[in-house]
């Protein structure tokens, strides 16, 4: 059964600097099954972040339908939470305070439950002992764990991740990918993961959606056949490299067309 349904969504807006209409998304349809990990890749400008913001309810849309468990999306809701590219932590709150923040805003849990959930998710993302630290005392990777814990703590049905590891160095990034899979196997959420790194998408996801720019639309969808749990050695596997290459060809071909001579 599909958890998240995106049907014929288009998004246009007026770009002041160009003084003309820009089509950010054109007739995008995809559905995500309950508990599925879906990755969306594409070059910058392909509308993947626009799509995520629409699903998150942060951006209004006029054409098409987005629904979660059959309910139409009309703004942010407690059934979704977002893990942002920039950790977006409140610098004046401790780590525990930041993880509690989403739950606090949504007012779904009582004080005691919030406390228990905060503790639970701090442990899940491996930050026990850092409860009373401030975000500025943590590394980029650790801040993204807090970002993830905050999103999980509010118990969403769908987790939306907007290039969460893009700002991390290569080594931390690989480590975080492995950690994410571990956490995801425990939390079992439906995930939509935006990235521009193809091997990240293939490594993490059940399916990879490839988007192309101007106008942003879905070009193809790849099924990733590897069993779980996966480990980082998978990235050297022949089959893995073949899928990565195929996706890369597809992304590359489109962006060449649009490179001005």
């Amino acid at each position: 059964m599909s958890k998240l349904q995106i049907e014929h969504v288009s998004k246009r807006y007026w770009r002041e600097t160009l003084d003309r209409e820009v089509v950010a998304l054109s007739d995008v349809s995809v559905s995500v099954a309950d508990g599925e990990f879906l990755a969306i890749v594409g070059p910058s400008g392909c509308g993947k972040t626009t799509l995520l913001n629409i699903v998150a309810g942060l951006l209004p849309y006029e054409e098409g339908t987005v629904s979660i468990a059959g309910k139409k999306v009309q703004g942010p809701g407690i059934d979704r939470s977002v893990v942002f590219q920039h950790s977006s932590l409140l610098p004046w709150r401790t780590i525990a305070g930041n993880i509690r923040y989403g739950m606090e805003l949504q007012r779904r849990f009582d004080k005691k439950t919030m406390l228990e959930r905060t503790e639970h998710f701090i442990r899940m993302v491996g930050l026990a002992g850092f409860e009373r630290h401030y975000p500025s005392e943590l590394s980029g990777g650790m801040q993204q764990r807090v970002n993830l814990a905050r999103a999980l703590a509010s118990d969403p049905e769908v987790l939306l991740m907007d290039e969460p590891f893009a700002a991390l160095d290569a080594q931390t990034r690989e480590f975080m990918q492995a950690e994410l899979l571990k956490i995801w196997s425990e939390a079992r959420k439906t995930v939509v993961f935006i990235t521009h790194q193809i091997n990240e998408a293939v490594y993490l996801a059940d399916r990879v959606v490839v988007m192309s720019p101007r106008p942003g639309r879905i070009k193809d969808v790849f099924k990733v056949p590897f069993a779980r749990p996966r480990n980082l050695h998978l990235k050297r596997d022949q089959k893995f490299l073949e899928i990565e290459e195929a996706i890369w060809q597809l992304v590359e071909e489109k962006s060449h067309e649009h490179t001005p001579a």
Partner: protein, 261 residues
């Protein structure tokens, strides 16, 4: 293996030793010149004469009364400025239309040197304490107002987006993002307000009235009582140093969460 590098007493306290050493030497030279009658009492005074004058005025004169009078005027004016500056600043920063309405007034008044308004203020309030209070108020009010407006408007876009994604209401955004984010700005305004309010109280007393430290300085000048004049100036200087370092401490305390600078 490395050992802790050895530092001499001088290396550890270099800035203090140099700074206060030079101050001490200056005082000694000054006192020597004064004792040798090389300085005319009409134009200058000496450290010993100033200390004697201070002691005399404290025990037998009305130095304490003058100090209390100025202190009271400063405190009333400053507290009024702080409260109204922060409250109005928050409102103007939060409501865009209110800013559009008030912007011409605030920028015009902020740019006008407050001293230029003193004669008018004396016409309005007379030469009693309320003209002094008002001068302090209007001197301290604008830096506090302008900084508070700036602080509220400097709201972090990423934090705003994050709060929205967790279904935050405007009220929640105001209390959890806008206000805490503005605190360091407000404290900067307070620190500037202290400095300008102090100038205000002295200037106010110089223009009219018969009490206060500012009056004492003006009176000392008119009667060529250079020792009295110096006592007044030193009291103002110390009050300024103490209050601005207190405000600085406050500023540091409330921005503990900021990354080390």
């Amino acid at each position: 293996m490395s050992t802790r590098p050895h530092k001499t007493f001088y290396q550890k306290h270099e800035s203090l030793i140099l700074g206060y050493g030079v101050l001490l030497i200056t005082l000694i030279i000054w006192q020597a010149l004064w004792s040798a009658h090389k300085l005319s009492p009409l134009f200058m005074s000496g450290p010993s004469a100033i200390a004697t004058r201070f002691w005399d005025d404290l025990l037998h004169g009305h130095l304490l009364e003058d100090f209390a009078y100025s202190g009271k005027n400063f405190l009333i004016g400053f507290i009024l400025a702080a409260v109204s500056g922060v409250v109005l600043g928050v409102l103007i920063g939060w409501y865009k239309r209110l800013e559009m309405i008030t912007a011409p007034f605030t920028s015009a008044l902020y740019a006008t040197p407050r001293v230029a308004m003193v004669p008018l203020i004396i016409i309005w309030f007379g030469i009693g304490m309320w003209s002094k209070v008002f001068i302090v108020f209007i001197s301290a009010f604008f830096p506090i107002l302008i900084n508070t407006i700036g602080g509220i408007q400097a709201i972090d876009r990423d934090l705003l987006k994050c709060a929205r994604s967790f279904c935050a209401t405007d009220r929640q955004i105001f209390t959890t993002v806008a206000i805490p984010g503005a605190v360091p700005f407000i404290l900067t305004g307070i620190r500037q307000g202290v400095a300008l309010g102090l100038i205000g109280v002295v200037v106010g007393e110089m223009f009219g009235g018969s009490q206060g430290i500012g009056f004492m300085v003006a009176y000392g000048g008119q009667t060529f009582a250079t020792d009295t004049l110096f006592v007044g100036v030193l009291i103002i200087a110390f009050a300024g140093i103490i209050m601005s370092s207190a405000a600085e401490q406050l500023e540091k305390r409330f921005s503990r969460w900021r990354p080390e600078r």
